[in-house]
C-alpha cells in the first residue's frame, strides 16, 4: 500500500513540520501515505496497521466503518501509528485544508508518542512486529486449521483486558526459583530472651525454642505453598507461565498480550493525546498555515471534531480545553498556595490579568507553554484530570453528572457538583473503565483450580459476561476456574468446571484462596 504523496502536500508537510519544530514539538520522522476510503477503512479496522493477523473481528469493524462512511455518518480523517518512524494516513478525497489540519494534528500526536512517559516502554517497531505476528498466526492456521486457531484467538481476546499496564515499568518478575536445589535459608529466628549463661536454660528452655522454631518453619512452609506468591494483575502472563498450553497456543497468547500492552498507553492517554493534538493543530493552523480562503472549511471541520452532544463527553474537547486552561492559569499565576487560599471571587477572576494582557495565549516562551509541555511529558488521563480539573473549569465547561434513573431507565442529569463530577470522571478513566481482576490462587483447594478475584471499587461486574468469560478461561486453564466478585452486597463465587457454570455465596463453608485482595 504505497501511495506517494502528491508534491504539493509533501511540501506542505515539510512546512508544517518546520513550524512544529519551532514551536518545540519533538517527533520521530513521520511518513504520510495517501489512501482511498476503502484502504483507510481497512487500516482503521486493523487498529492503524497495514497488516494484522487474520481474524473476523477486523472484518466486523471494517463492515461497520464502511457502512458508516457510506451513510455519511462518519469519516476517518486521521490515523497515526506509534512507531519509529511514525506512519500516518491521509484520506485521498479530502481537501488540501483538511490535509494540512491532519498533518499538523499528526505531528503533535507523534510528539506525544515520543515524549509522554507512558509510551516510553512501547515497542517502536510495532509495525514490523504486527506483520510478524500475522505471519506467525498464518503459519499456525496452515498447520492447525483456521477453526482451531480462530477459536484460540477468540479466547485470548476475551481475556485481553487482564493485563497490568503498570507492569512494564516494574522490574520483570524474577525467574522462578529452582525448586530442586533449595538454597540453605538462614536459620529462622526465634525469640531469645537475654539471660546470663547459667540462667539461659531456665529463661529460654530448649523445648520452647524447638517448638517455636517448628512453628516458624511451618509458617514459612505455608507461605511457600502459596501460589502465586502474591495476587497478580497480569493474568495473561500468569496463564502464559502456568497454563498447560502447547507451544503454538502459548505463542498466540503472547501475541495477543504483546499487542494489548502496546495499545494500553493509548487507552490511558486518550484525552490528553487528542487534546494535545487538537491544541497544536489549532495553534499552528490559525497562527501560520491557514490561507484566507480556507478559513471557513477549517472552522467547520475543527468545530466538528470538537463538537459535544449532551450525554457524550468528547475527549478532543475536554483535552484541548483543559490544556488551554492550564496554559492560562500558569500564564496568569493562578496556582500555588496563595491563589488557592484566596476566596474572593472577584480577585480570583482578575488574578494575574496584567501578566497576560492579551488574554489566553502569551506566546511560545510563556510559563503556560512550558507547563503544558511538562504536562504532556509526565501525566496520563487519570493524573491529568486529578491534578488539573478545577471547579472553575467544570463550571465554565458546563459539565454535569448524570446517571440512570432506576424507575424510568433514562439517563438524567443529577447535578453539577464538582466533587461528584471529578469522582465520576476518574472512575471512568481508571484502568480504562475495565474492572480490576487478580489471580489470587493458582492452586485453589490444592486441586490446580484457578481462582480470580475482582477488586470492587464502586461498580459490579456484569454477571452474564463474567460467566461467559470464565468459560473461555477454562479452555486455557483446563481445570475448574473461579471468580470471586461482589454483586450488590453479596460476595459471590462464580465457577465453571468444564461442564457447567455455578455460583454460590462466599461464606465460611467455602475454602479460602491463597490471597485476599
Amino acid at each position: 500500500m504505497n501511495r506517494l504523496l502528491p508534491k504539493e502536500i509533501a511540501e506542505q508537510a515539510e512546512i508544517i513540520a518546520e513550524h512544529a519544530r519551532r514551536e518545540g514539538l519533538d517527533f520521530y520522522p513521520t511518513v504520510f501515505e495517501m489512501l482511498t476510503s476503502e484502504e483507510i477503512s481497512q487500516v482503521a479496522a486493523y487498529g492503524g496497521f497495514p497488516r494484522r493477523y487474520p481474524h473476523w473481528r477486523f472484518g466486523m469493524e471494517y463492515e461497520r466503518l464502511r457502512k458508516q462512511h457510506r451513510y455519511g455518518l462518519g469519516k476517518i480523517y486521521e490515523m497515526v501509528i506509534n512507531n519509529n518512524p511514525c506512519y500516518a494516513y491521509l484520506l485521498n478525497d479530502n481537501a488540501l485544508v483538511d490535509h494540512k489540519t491532519v498533518i499538523a494534528h499528526v505531528y503533535a500526536h507523534c510528539d506525544f508518542f515520543k515524549n509522554n512517559i507512558w509510551f516510553a516502554r512501547t515497542n517502536r517497531r510495532m509495525i514490523d512486529d504486527m506483520a510478524n505476528h500475522a505471519t506467525r498466526i498464518r503459519r499456525y492456521i496452515g498447520r492447525h486449521g483456521l477453526e482451531r486457531v480462530e477459536q484460540l484467538i477468540d479466547i485470548c481476546l476475551s481475556l485481553e483486558n487482564l493485563i497490568d499496564p503498570h507492569s512494564v515499568f516494574m522490574r520483570r518478575e524474577a525467574a522462578p526459583q529452582p525448586t530442586a536445589t533449595t538454597k540453605q535459608k538462614p536459620e529462622p529466628t526465634v525469640t531469645r530472651f537475654p539471660a546470663k549463661s547459667y540462667m539461659d536454660r531456665y529463661i529460654n528452655p530448649p523445648e520452647r525454642l524447638a517448638s517455636d522454631r517448628a512453628a516458624v518453619d511451618e509458617n514459612s512452609q505455608q507461605a511457600k505453598k502459596r501460589f502465586p506468591a502474591r495476587p497478580l494483575r497480569d493474568v495473561l502472563a500468569f496463564l502464559l507461565q502456568n497454563a498447560p498450553l502447547e507451544d503454538w497456543e502459548a505463542d498466540i497468547l503472547s501475541i495477543v498480550r504483546e499487542e494489548a500492552y502496546y495499545f494500553a498507553p493509548q487507552g490511558q492517554t486518550k484525552i490528553m493525546n487528542e487534546g494535545w493534538a487538537s491544541y497544536w493543530h489549532s495553534t499552528m493552523m490559525t497562527n501560520y498555515i491557514l490561507g484566507d480562503n480556507e478559513l471557513i472549511d477549517y472552522c467547520e471541520h475543527h468545530s466538528g471534531t470538537l463538537a459535544t452532544s449532551p450525554g457524550r463527553l468528547n475527549p478532543y474537547k475536554l483535552g484541548i480545553e483543559l490544556l488551554r486552561d492550564i496554559e492560562r492559569r500558569w500564564n496568569t499565576g493562578r496556582y500555588g498556595p496563595e491563589y488557592d487560599a484566596c476566596d474572593d471571587m472577584a480577585a480570583r477572576r482578575e488574578w494575574g490579568k496584567d501578566r497576560a494582557p492579551r488574554g489566553r495565549v502569551v506566546g511560545p516562551d510563556s510559563p503556560g507553554r512550558a507547563k503544558i509541555f511538562e504536562v504532556r511529558t509526565i501525566y496520563n488521563d487519570v493524573t491529568f484530570l486529578d491534578e488539573f480539573l478545577t471547579p472553575e473549569f467544570v463550571d465554565e465547561q458546563k459539565l454535569y453528572h448524570y446517571r440512570q434513573d432506576p424507575t424510568t431507565g433514562r439517563m438524567v442529569v443529577v447535578n453539577r457538583d464538582f466533587d461528584k463530577i471529578k469522582q465520576q470522571l476518574l472512575f471512568m478513566l481508571t484502568n480504562h473503565a475495565q474492572p480490576y481482576i487478580y489471580v489470587t490462587d493458582g492452586n485453589y483447594r490444592n486441586r490446580g483450580e484457578l481462582y480470580l478475584a475482582h477488586r470492587h471499587n464502586g461498580a459490579d461486574i456484569d454477571i452474564k459476561y463474567a460467566v461467559a468469560t470464565l468459560k473461555q478461561l477454562h479452555a486455557l486453564w483446563r481445570r475448574p476456574v473461579h471468580l470471586n466478585a461482589r454483586i450488590g452486597d453479596e460476595v459471590m463465587l462464580f465457577t465453571f468446571d468444564g461442564e457447567q457454570s455455578s455460583q454460590q455465596r462466599v461464606d465460611e463453608k467455602v475454602d479460602n484462596p491463597a490471597h485476599f485482595l
Partner: protein, 366 residues
C-alpha cells in the same frame, strides 16, 4: 486492488450466516419480510457474536455530560458518552444486512432441492462446476501432476540442472499447476409451481399470515435456485380464480369453502398452459381443511388421484390450524391417498411450525 481485509470480512459474514442459520426458525416467522423483494437488504439482529470479557454491568451506568440542563432533565440521545464501558460499542446488538437471497440460500442449505426432471424446452438453468482449466495457485489436492512435472522438467533442462543419467525432478513453487474450475450454467428443464390458497371466511388473518409466510419462503427459495421458474397463484373460497403474486400475498376475502373448485382451476391451468411432457409441475395447497362437505372432500381426492397426480411431480397439502378447530380435509387426504409418494401433507399450527413444514415438503428431495 484486493484488500487483505476482504478475507476477514468474508470470514465475518460467514460467521454471521452461521448465527443466522442457528436462529433460522425465528427469522422465518418475521412477517415484515413479506413483499420486500424490491428492497434488497434485510437488517437482522445477530446475537452472540461478540467476544465476552470481564466488564462492568449496566446497573452502574452513569457519566459526565456537557451542556445545558437542570437536575432531573433527561440526557438526550443514546450516545453513551464516556460511561463505564467507555467508547466501545459493545453494548449494542449487532445488526447485519443480508440480502433476501442470502437468507433463502441459508434456508436452502438446510433443505434439499427438489429433483426436477429434465423435460421440455430449456428454460431453467442449474449451476455446475466443471474442471476445465489450470491456474498457478490452488490446493495441493488439485495439483495437475503431469503439467507440473513437465514444467519442472522444462525448467531444469533450460537451466542445465537436468542430468539424463540420473534424472531427478524437483518441483518448485512456480512449477506447480493446479486444476481450476468454471461454473457453467447448464440448461435444464421447465418447472411451474402452482400455489393454491383457501381464502374463505374460516381462514382468519392469522391463518393467512401463516400461509403467506410459508408460500413466501418456498417461493423465495425456489426462485433463488432456479432461474426461469414459473409461479402461478390460485385463491379460492367456493369459487376459484387465478390471481397475480401480489394479490395472492395480500388478498382478503371470505365465504364458504369448496376445495374442489381450486383443484379444477389448477387442472384447467395445467391443461391450458403446461403440457405435462414439457413441464415439471408442483402443486401446493394451503387451507384450514374446513371443507364445506364431506362429499366435496372425496371428490377432491378423486380429482387429485385421477386427473392431477399423473401430471404432477408433487402435490403438497399444508393444513393450518384455524380458530374454528382443525379441519378434517387432511384426514380425508390421508385416508384416500395414503399410498402415493408424490402427496405430502403437513400441519402448521403456529409460526414456529413453518420451518418444519417446509422441511417436510422438501427434505425428501423430490
Amino acid at each position: 486492488m484486493v484488500l487483505q481485509i476482504n478475507n476477514d470480512h468474508q470470514r465475518f459474514r460467514k460467521i454471521v450466516k452461521g448465527k443466522i442459520r442457528q436462529d433460522l426458525r425465528k427469522f422465518l416467522t418475521r412477517g415484515e419480510l413479506l413483499g420486500r423483494e424490491g428492497k434488497r437488504f434485510v437488517s437482522i439482529p445477530v446475537h452472540g457474536i461478540e467476544i465476552p470479557n470481564f466488564r462492568y454491568g449496566d446497573n452502574n451506568d452513569a457519566g459526565v455530560g456537557k451542556g445545558e440542563g437542570q437536575p432531573g432533565d433527561q440526557v438526550d440521545g443514546e450516545g453513551e458518552g464516556m460511561g463505564p464501558g467507555g467508547e466501545q460499542e459493545g453494548r449494542h446488538i449487532l445488526e447485519v444486512d443480508v440480502t433476501l437471497e442470502e437468507l433463502a440460500e441459508i434456508l436452502g442449505e438446510e433443505l434439499q432441492l427438489p429433483r426436477i426432471k429434465p423435460k421440455g424446452k430449456h428454460r431453467i438453468t442449474a449451476e455446475r462446476d466443471r474442471y476445465s482449466g489450470v491456474r498457478q495457485s490452488g490446493p495441493e489436492s488439485l495439483r495437475h501432476f503431469k503439467r507440473t512435472f513437465r514444467r519442472a522438467l522444462r525448467r531444469q533442462i533450460i537451466s542445465g540442472l537436468y542430468n539424463p543419467d540420473a534424472p531427478r525432478i524437483i518441483f518448485e513453487r512456480r512449477d506447480k499447476v493446479y486444476r481450476s474450475w468454471k461454473t457453467v450454467l447448464s440448461p435444464q428443464s421447465n418447472a411451474v409451481i402452482i400455489y393454491m390458497m383457501d381464502v374463505s371466511g374460516s381462514m382468519g388473518d392469522e391463518q393467512k399470515e401463516l400461509v403467506r409466510l410459508e408460500a413466501f419462503w418456498i417461493d423465495a427459495w425456489l426462485r433463488k435456485n432456479y432461474q426461469g421458474i414459473e409461479s402461478r397463484y390460485i385463491v379460492h373460497d367456493v369459487r376459484a380464480a387465478e390471481v397475480d403474486r401480489d394479490t395472492f400475498f395480500r388478498i382478503r376475502e371470505d365465504g364458504g369453502t369448496r376445495i374442489s373448485s381450486a383443484y379444477r382451476a389448477a387442472r384447467e391451468l395445467i391443461e391450458k398452459n403446461y403440457a405435462p411432457n414439457d413441464w415439471n409441475i408442483y402443486l401446493f395447497h394451503f387451507s384450514d381443511g374446513d371443507n364445506s362437505s364431506e362429499s366435496d372432500s372425496r371428490e377432491c381426492c378423486t380429482l387429485v388421484r385421477e386427473q392431477l397426480l399423473p401430471n404432477l411431480n408433487m402435490f403438497g397439502y399444508c393444513q393450518v390450524a384455524s380458530a374454528y378447530g382443525s379441519g378434517n380435509f387432511i384426514n380425508v387426504v390421508h385416508e384416500h391417498l395414503p399410498d402415493l409418494e408424490a402427496v405430502i401433507t403437513s400441519r402448521v399450527n403456529t409460526k414456529d411450525d413453518i420451518y418444519d413444514s417446509i422441511k417436510t415438503f422438501f427434505t425428501a428431495g423430490r
